[in-house]
Symmetry: C2
């Protein structure tokens, strides 16, 4: 389930994409540009998208409330609305690089424009993304290996179950960043101050503690090369609702493609608690 | 709407109530003890209660998500359940000092036991309480005037409207603590690190900035005496959902009485982000 090869090199090698405004990024994606968004419109908050029929909205909102580390909710739209208070003039149906369409828990399409799948009863959840705390980590001097290597962040389905909510259940998904030991304290401190975008790590070190067998084979995104002393650090990941969709099989869901996020107008520092 | 006079002296003058376990506090309240809970079972997290019919639960959860400073959700029960993961063996129908019962937005009763009003379709929301960050403020040396004076914290309905959600709308309610200028930085810093219990203040200084006319006449709780140099500091308050009930008139709601909270088993420091 890793990102298609053709997606990979598009954005991260485009150094100027860091300096884009969120409006420019959304416009480029609306025109059809695809690829992982790590580093794009640097300093602006990125968000995971999951849209479900209104009949499932309470279960999803409760699932998020009961699992705030993987699912910190930044905004919830009214049913049928494709606008959000987080981004002036944005269209949630077109402005992400790539979508995933789910029927009964099965991935059925990965379009770059979701208008053909839109429904009047869809409630959209925008969920905090770890790309936001990468800004804070970078400011604190922590190297971000997957960005250095021009790759999507690696994500893994863990053996830990989320707390269920109504009809929704599923495993915790994590993102992983190899962190040099001398930067570990800063990585933990800086992400802790951003609880709205996953907050502190859920695990550090041996991946078997999370039921992950092989860091070289992520379930989403790309494997990343670590330096010998690097410690793998795991943060709860906003792909968790997609894993809940796979496990719980609602009749319909629309999500972002892993790593290909929605660019909001919010500034990352707005979510810093102190 | 201030707390009845007979409530006031019960607990705060009982110094030993600070040392109670949460279980002991809940048992005493179950037996009929009433009064403000500031300082009771010190170090344990207190929560606001609001229970609404399942038909209104999505609106309430969305209202909380859209207004996270006044309404940080710590737990949501399944419909009809009076238990919570936050307190082993607790009964939400009996274990608070005093309840408020609302019909069509009107306060109709203030019982000490809510079993006669319980409904099988009630969904209960436990919402973070500023009494939690009082612990952190106290640790940092910030004087807590209303505790020193044996009073309930003063609470005010402001002129600011919350972001509406479905059928729910209403004004922001705040609690106020007079803080000596030399302690203001600590008060802001310490509360900022507890975003799950209202986080940083919403306003400091002139109360007219929030549309509050007279600090001596709180809408809930007791007026508190300030020292001449004290700065009034205003935090978003978990009574806000009650103000939404008054404004939005759902057919039924059950809440705690202002200042008379639910004692959880959680430790305040669990909610500290760093």
């Amino acid at each position: 389930m890793s990102t298609e090869t053709e997606d990979r090199p598009v954005l991260l090698v485009e150094e100027h994409a860091r300096a884009w405004s969120p409006e420019t990024a959304r416009a480029r994606f609306r025109e059809g540009l695809t690829g992982p968004t790590a580093g794009v419109a640097a300093g602006h908050t990125q968000a995971n998208l999951i849209s479900v029929p209104a009949d499932w909205a309470y279960d999803m909102l409760l699932f998020c409330q009961r699992n705030p580390k993987p699912c910190p909710v930044l905004d919830v739209t009214d049913a049928g609305s494709w606008t959000t208070v987080l981004a002036d003039g944005a269209d949630l149906r077109t402005d992400l690089p790539r979508y995933r369409v789910w029927r009964d828990g099965e991935l059925v399409d990965e379009p770059t424009d979701a208008r053909a799948y839109w429904r009047d009863d869809l409630v959209s959840f925008l969920i905090g993304c770890s790309f936001t705390f990468e800004w804070a980590l970078g400011e604190a001097g922590v190297p971000i290996r997957h960005v250095e290597q021009g790759r999507n962040v690696p994500m893994y389905v863990t053996g830990r179950q989320c707390r269920p909510a109504g009809r929704l259940h599923g495993p915790l998904v994590v993102s992983m960043r190899p962190v040099p030991p001398e930067h570990l304290a800063a990585a933990i401190r800086e992400s802790s101050l951003l609880p709205a975008v996953h907050g502190s790590p859920v695990h550090c070190g041996d991946p078997s503690g999370l039921g992950i067998d092989d860091l070289g084979r992520p379930d989403f995104g790309d494997a990343v090369d670590a330096e010998p002393d690097d410690i793998p650090v795991f943060w709860a990941c906003g792909v968790t609702p997609q894993a809940a969709v796979m496990a719980s099989r609602p009749p319909f869901a629309l999500t972002h493609a892993p790593g290909q996020m929605f660019l909001t107008d919010a500034r990352d520092e707005q979510y810093r608690v102190a």
